[in-house]
């Protein structure tokens, strides 16, 4: 119909929509699904809902997404029946789980911890004996998922939280960036242990996740100071320790985390403040990263628009691009210690712990 219109009225030729892709990140752009329209019919309703929650950041954070995904997959497995002439081992992964995973990835790229967990789940499924009856196999798998969540996340978080809380002393000023659930747990634990300390929460646009952390801590009666990343260099001097969460730990010891974390670690390093990363081993990966451009996630540029601001119709401006990456990579030399459930290690030990974690599976 467009060509017909163009023939009929050649004067108002619709200008070709300009490519707003930022060249550095071209390889990372993926259309993000924001409604269930067009989703495969094989996708389970629980997963459909989860996908949307992820794409609009209702469920956000590496661990939260991992747990939610596994729980949704449990529902998928529960409602699964092996079709006649097939075995669960051969059928479940390729025909049922794959479309779920594909759909989730189309809503928001999978986190590294989710990738690790899915790899584990596939391995578990492949280990199911062909002769096991369906109900037993399903119950076993669900049990295994529960154990996995308990061991790798819930219990790991408790170990990390008490280990990190031990490091917080009376009079400490803890600086943290954005919101990490494990940092929050550690601070709450330290507070419950009766430690007297202050917290500085540094935050940034567009997600303002730190605001939730600051509110939660302030509600507990912890003295909290909140600033945006423009106040970082002023506040770093007051801090005594920097606690950071992680999206993933790379095998070359670098930290892959919310965009802006690298700046915080850099400033902490400059001011000689110890930087502690709290990270479950499920977030470790064998992948390596040298900069923040090779692996990353590009969020929709429209998230940067402030309602009523000048950016509202930025898309009409020629040659103007908005860039909204989600993560950055912090050099290993800025990190003094990684607190994991398997102990406190330097960044150089990440590949070792990762191998140990995988072999134990």
């Amino acid at each position: 119909t467009r060509s017909q219109k163009a023939v009929a009225a050649p004067a108002p030729v619709e200008p070709k929509k300009e490519d707003k892709t930022v060249e550095f990140f071209r390889h990372l752009y993926k259309p993000r699904m924001t409604s269930i329209a067009g989703a495969s019919k094989d996708v389970h309703p629980a997963v459909l809902a989860l996908g949307l929650q992820m794409s609009n950041y209702t469920i956000c954070g590496s661990c939260a997404r991992l747990v939610a995904t596994l729980q949704a997959f449990k529902r998928v497995i529960e409602s699964y029946t092996t079709p006649p002439g097939n075995s669960l081992t051969r059928h479940l992964t390729s025909h049922v789980l794959s479309p779920q995973i594909e759909y989730l990835a189309s809503c928001r790229p999978l986190s590294i911890s989710m990738g690790n967990a899915i790899r584990w789940l596939k391995l578990e499924i492949s280990k199911v004996d062909i002769n096991t009856p369906d109900t037993t196999a399903k119950a076993d798998l669900c049990e295994a998922i529960d154990v996995f969540i308990r061991e790798r996340v819930t219990f790991a978080d408790q170990v990390i939280a008490s280990s990190a809380a031990e490091r917080i002393k009376d009079g400490d000023v803890i600086l943290t960036y954005a919101k990490s659930s494990i940092v929050q747990k550690s601070l709450v634990k330290a507070h419950e242990d009766g430690k007297k300390f202050r917290v500085i929460v540094v935050d940034s646009r567009p997600l303002h996740e730190g605001k939730h952390l600051a509110a939660a801590l302030a509600d507990l009666g912890i003295e909290v100071k909140y600033c945006l990343i423009n106040g970082l260099s002023h506040n770093i001097q007051d801090a005594t320790k920097v606690l950071l969460g992680a999206h993933a730990m790379m095998s070359n010891g670098r930290l892959f985390s919310r965009i802006g974390t690298a700046l915080v670690a850099m400033e902490a390093n400059e001011a000689d403040k110890p930087v502690l990363v709290l990270c479950e081993t499920i977030k470790f990966t064998e992948r390596v990263a040298l900069d923040s451009i090779v692996h990353n996630e590009i969020a929709p540029a429209d998230e940067l628009i402030i309602p009523g601001g000048a950016l509202e119709n930025w898309a009409d401006m020629k040659k103007l691009q908005l860039c909204n990456p989600m993560y950055d990579v912090t050099p290993a030399e800025y990190i003094q210690m990684i607190v994991t459930e398997s102990g406190n290690v330097p960044p150089t030990s990440v590949p070792v712990l990762h191998r140990l974690g995988n072999e134990s599976q």
Partner: protein, 490 residues
């Protein structure tokens, strides 16, 4: 003077307009309260307002002797600085005016001494200068004090043209102030006239001596006895006129400084470079636009949330700042087209993305609020982490700043320079309980130490940070540096 739109919101434009009609004392009070209420803020508007106010102070001053004038300006300056100590440029302008008055007085004295000795040389530098002025020289020849700038319209603006203040004569001898000047140009009936009897006799007027269009080369010799007598009667006013046109030159410099800086742009920006800049600055924007005339490159703009992001967004989308409340800088400036319309790809990023993107950046260009004599600078909050991130990536950091922002003060307590802004910009009242429970911190400025800066580009050229103290010495007199708190005087 640029024309202003009439408006009710008190801003620079309204203030400058009111200068013409208001009493001097109420103008001073007015500026003090405008500074206090931050209705005039940022370096350039403060500098322009200060210079215009001083122009009025000098014009209204009942001329007795130079010491009284210095004292008067010091007194006004002290009040302005106390009103807003963090706008360091106010102090800079006052110091420059003080220094300029001292120079004028000294020259006047010296002329009496050296009149006969040096009169044959007086003519040549000033002619050279007036010629350069017509040719719109970007910088004066090195023999001239950088305090004063060539400007096209200086002779039209001044009631009395005093081109000979540019003469680089040896300043020897100290004598009590003598307020008579014998060697100066005066525009009488639109004709520049040389006042010195010696010059009258010796000067063979060259065609270069006269600005084109004002008179014939022979206009000079047509000095009649009547005008000479008149001039001698008004000679005590010469110094005042010279001071006034000196201030007008400073005002002209403020007008032209961005274009002068931009003239260096093509030396520093090359094809296909990726330039990172921060916050919205007219100087930087003009600099990049000038480079865009010849080259294609990419500019990454960090938005400087939450204090300057609206201006940044307006600048990148090309929406007039006038629509945005509180942006009074633009009211005195022409609308500058957005970089993207000059064919440059502009990428807007959040401040948090700086480290991630720095590995692809070739150069960082920062704007400043004030530059300190040690080579450090005060810039929008966030500048420090940009400069530091650039340092760890070995990316050169260039600071673009007019010389008028260069302050001779050397604060040891850098925190005292930092201003804190509205916490409501970070946590608004819609956040309810948070407002009560949180301490919210919103610094407006950052101190960037000199070791994070690689190069300064001013209207005088490009300098290493370690050289700035020299430019400070050229621009301010030692005795004026701590004029506002004399107990610190060395």
């Amino acid at each position: 003077m640029p024309s202003f739109q009439a408006g009710y919101a008190p801003n620079l434009g309204v203030f400058l307009k009111s200068l013409k009609t208001q009493q001097l004392e109420s103008s001073i009070e007015n500026l003090i309260s405008l500074l206090k209420r931050r209705q005039i803020k940022n370096s350039r508007p403060c500098a322009i307002a200060t210079a215009h106010l001083l122009l009025r102070v000098v014009a209204k001053f009942r001329w007795t002797d130079i010491g009284k004038l210095l004292e008067r300006i010091r007194e006004v300056g002290q009040r302005l600085i106390e009103a807003q100590p963090r706008e360091m440029v106010v102090g800079n302008i006052i110091r420059r005016v003080l220094g300029m008055i001292r120079d004028e007085a000294k020259e006047d004295r010296n002329e009496d001494v050296s009149d006969s000795a040096s009169n044959s040389q007086i003519g040549s530098p000033q002619r050279q200068h007036s010629d350069l002025g017509v040719a719109k020289a970007a910088a004066p020849p090195p023999t001239f004090s950088p305090l004063r700038f060539a400007s096209t319209d200086a002779s039209e603006l001044a009631e009395t043209s005093e081109d000979d203040v540019f003469g680089g004569r040896p300043q020897t001898g100290h004598r009590p102030p003598l307020l008579t000047s014998h060697t100066s140009f005066a525009v009488l009936n639109g004709v520049p006239v040389q006042q010195s009897m010696f010059n009258l006799l010796s000067a063979t007027p060259s065609p270069l001596a006269t600005p084109p269009g004002t008179s014939s080369p022979h206009g000079k010799s047509a000095v009649n006895a009547a005008s000479l007598a008149h001039k001698i009667a008004t000679t005590s006013k010469d110094l005042k006129a010279e001071v006034i046109s000196g201030i007008e030159e400073i005002i002209d410099e403020l007008d032209q400084v961005d274009d002068q800086i931009a003239a260096y742009a093509q030396e520093h920006i090359h094809s296909n470079e990726v330039i990172l800049t921060h916050s919205s600055s007219l100087s930087v924007q003009k600099f990049l636009l000038k480079a865009a005339d010849k080259r294609k490159f990419t500019v990454i703009v960090a938005e400087s949330y939450p204090n300057d992001h609206e201006a940044v967004h307006a600048a990148v989308t090309g929406k007039s700042k006038a629509n945005i409340e509180g942006a009074d800088e633009m009211s005195t400036e022409m609308f500058v087209k957005p970089l993207s319309s000059a064919g440059i790809t502009v990428i807007l990023i959040t401040d948090a993305s700086i480290f991630a993107i720095m590995s692809r950046v070739n150069k960082v260009i920062l704007a400043t609020h004030a530059v300190i004599a040690n080579g450090g600078l005060i810039a929008s909050a966030g500048a420090r982490i940009i400069a530091k991130a650039a340092k760890v990536h070995r990316t050169p950091v260039i600071v673009v700043s007019g010389v008028y922002k260069l302050s001779p003060e050397y604060p040891f307590e850098f925190e005292s320079l930092i201003e804190y802004g509205d916490p409501g910009a970070i946590v608004g009242y819609q956040d309810g309980a948070l407002v009560d429970n949180l301490e919210v911190d919103n610094p407006v400025y950052d101190y960037v130490p000199p070791d994070l800066v690689d190069l300064y580009i001013t209207n005088l050229g490009a300098h290493a940070p370690s050289y700035l103290y020299r430019i400070v010495a050229d621009h301010y007199k030692i005795e004026d540096i701590n004029f506002h708190n004399p107990e610190l005087q060395f």
